[in-house]
């Protein structure tokens, strides 16, 4: 499952593995059978849904292994670009509602593809992201704040160099109010804490830079230390570029 591959590789980076036991070729070859005609990705080769989540996974995997031969990047970019909604956010696929999660996946994937300039309406995207802030951030217009969007939207703004346009103090206040009395974060104040919101809530706090937390790489969603751990660095083609086409 492409999301499991992404997660597994991320964990290996985090714990400092040397990647020597990975069958890298097979991972990359698998991506070929997962890309759809429209550029999107399925998570498993037996038929399944396909959308922006897995486009991100494919790009993150390719970057972590420094091997972009597994899929057609042009088609992937096209799929992403077409998924921008009239309101500036990105949906899971074309025509669907702009949503914080899919927006993160879209922008992170474009960053990895070196194609962030392909966004049709960058101004609208920034406006949409900035408008997501109530106290914390919501995932869609007219929905309430949810701690995990402090990462999904926060990271997106970081990648667009527009994070400084947010109000981190209010954002922090909200996230902290989502912390339960016995630890962990829930999606909203008083909500039961869960792993996802604890993870995302902490990442969001890290982005704010107001607490003593390790820095988070906005593209990958884990620490910069782990992101910098690159056992396959010698395979990187162009220095400083994540683009397969450069």
């Amino acid at each position: 499952h492409i999301a499991m591959s992404y997660t597994a590789l991320s964990v290996l980076k985090i714990v400092g593995d040397d990647f020597s036991r990975l069958n890298r070729k097979s991972i990359i070859n698998a991506l070929r059978s997962l890309q759809c005609d429209n550029g999107s990705f399925m998570p498993v080769a037996t038929e399944s849904e396909n959308d922006m989540r897995f486009v991100f996974c494919a790009c993150a995997i390719s970057e972590m292994l420094h091997d972009w031969s597994g899929f057609d990047p042009k088609k992937a970019v096209e799929f992403i670009v077409e998924s921008q909604s009239y309101d500036g956010g990105f949906g899971l696929r074309r025509g669907t509602e702009g949503h914080g999660g899919s927006t993160y996946c879209a922008v992170a994937a474009l960053s990895l593809l070196g194609a962030i300039d392909s966004v049709r309406d960058r101004t609208g995207l920034i406006r949409w992201c900035i408008s997501r802030q109530g106290d914390g951030f919501s995932g869609r217009p007219n929905k309430s704040s949810d701690s995990c969007y402090s990462f999904w939207i926060g990271a997106t703004l970081k990648m667009l160099d527009a994070y400084d346009l947010t109000c981190p103090e209010r954002n922090r206040e909200f996230n902290m109010s989502c912390q339960s009395s016995f630890g962990g974060f829930g999606k909203v104040p008083e909500a039961r804490p869960d792993l996802l919101h604890s993870y995302m809530g902490l990442c969001g706090l890290s982005l704010m830079g107001l607490d003593d937390l390790q820095k988070i790489d906005p593209v990958f969603g884990f620490g910069v230390r782990a992101a910098a751990h690159d056992p396959l660095e010698h395979l990187k083609t162009t220095r400083g570029s994540k683009s397969p086409s450069s």
Binding site: A3, S48, D87, G91, E97
Partner: protein, 341 residues
């Protein structure tokens, strides 16, 4: 007591929020419970129907980390499922086993896939299967696998006749469920079923004019049917004007209006501007001001651009303080535009 625990588990699962990427893991019950006491096959070890199967334990290797505290029922059910998978046994009991696994973890994509394999092999009644999916949708309406499974069934049956009514029903409990709108959109496009869609979005917006999903669906419907012709933009903008008049600071409505404005082909800027100025004269709507800035930025005359700058200053200092840095950034963009002109 068992029933109360059952209900508690249902509520917990139903209310668990699944954020979009890339999570697909559902909760695992910590306690044993039976959904339908007469229908479950657990415990398998004492069930004569399963006496021929050797359960296959989960192999987490010699040093498992972060092991999940599975319930006895979960472990045993999965042990028998693994055995059936290994055998690739696509039988009626395998189909029932899939139901058990799905009940324990509705995000188990392998169970859903194998279920489809069994359905095909057994040439099962897909209409009955659709009923099954519909039933569990009410328990876990935000599950990706479930909605994909439904899509496959509808495809195989080549029959969308229940879909519009069903999606409308699910939207009654959560009018913004992303999966539901997505499925409905798919039905519209795959079967070219557009009659009544505009009216449907209208009725949803009558219930809640802040329903962002309904606005998005409306945009998609127009795009796929009439397209954004001059006449359509006119009628759509009238429609949105009415909604804005009722709630002048509704971001979803203003976004939709901006969407119409951005189709760019027809310069109805005057009408849009007139309406926006009207709103502002009555209410200090942040979104109205924001839209006005966009209109003025299109105009390119110095006087318009300077006015846009003033609006940004007002938004940042007074009306939309949380976004003060953003409005300073927009102001900078406009000043840059003034310089460039």
């Amino acid at each position: 007591r068992k029933r109360r625990r059952r209900e508690a588990q249902r509520t917990q699962r139903g209310s668990l929020y699944f954020c979009v990427p890339p999570s697909c893991v559902a909760s695992t019950p910590m306690t044993d419970f039976e959904v339908q006491e007469d229908k479950t096959m657990y415990p398998f070890s004492t069930n004569p129907e399963w006496s021929d199967i050797t359960p296959l334990k989960q192999d987490d290797g010699p040093n498992p980390v972060v092991s999940i505290l599975y319930s006895k029922r979960f472990s045993e059910s999965m042990d028998y499922f693994r055995a059936i998978l290994q055998k690739d046994e696509r039988s009626p009991r395998a189909l029932r086993l899939c139901s058990e696994i799905i009940d324990l973890n509705s995000a188990n994509y392998t169970a859903w896939h194998f279920r489809r394999a069994c359905l095909k092999e057994l040439d099962s009644n897909l209409t009955e299967e659709l009923k099954y999916v519909s039933e569990i949708t009410l328990q876990t309406p935000k599950n990706y696998q479930l909605w994909f499974h439904r899509r496959k069934l509808v495809e195989w049956l080549n029959d969308p006749s229940l879909e519009l009514e069903f999606t409308a029903k699910v939207l009654e409990s959560d009018s913004k469920n992303y999966h539901v709108w997505s499925h409905r959109s798919w039905v519209n496009q795959h079967f070219n079923l557009w009659d009544g869609e505009l009216a449907f979005t209208k009725s949803l917006l009558e219930q809640d004019l802040r329903n962002n999903s309904a606005f998005n669906h409306r945009y998609t419907v127009v795009k796929h049917t009439t397209g954004f012709t001059r006449e359509v933009i006119q009628s759509e903008s009238r429609f949105v004007f009415e909604l804005i008049t009722k709630a002048p600071n509704n971001e979803s409505a203003w976004n939709y209006l901006r969407g119409l404005f951005d189709t760019n082909e027809f310069s109805q800027h005057d009408e849009f501007q007139r309406f926006t100025e009207d709103v502002i004269s009555g209410t200090k709507s942040v979104h109205a001001y924001s839209f006005l800035v966009d209109i003025l930025m299109r105009r390119k005359q110095n006087s318009d651009l300077l006015r846009a700058v003033e609006i940004c200053k007002n938004l940042g200092s007074e009306l939309d303080e949380i976004r003060v840095k953003y409005w300073k950034y927009v102001e900078k963009l406009i000043r840059q535009q003034i310089q460039d002109e």
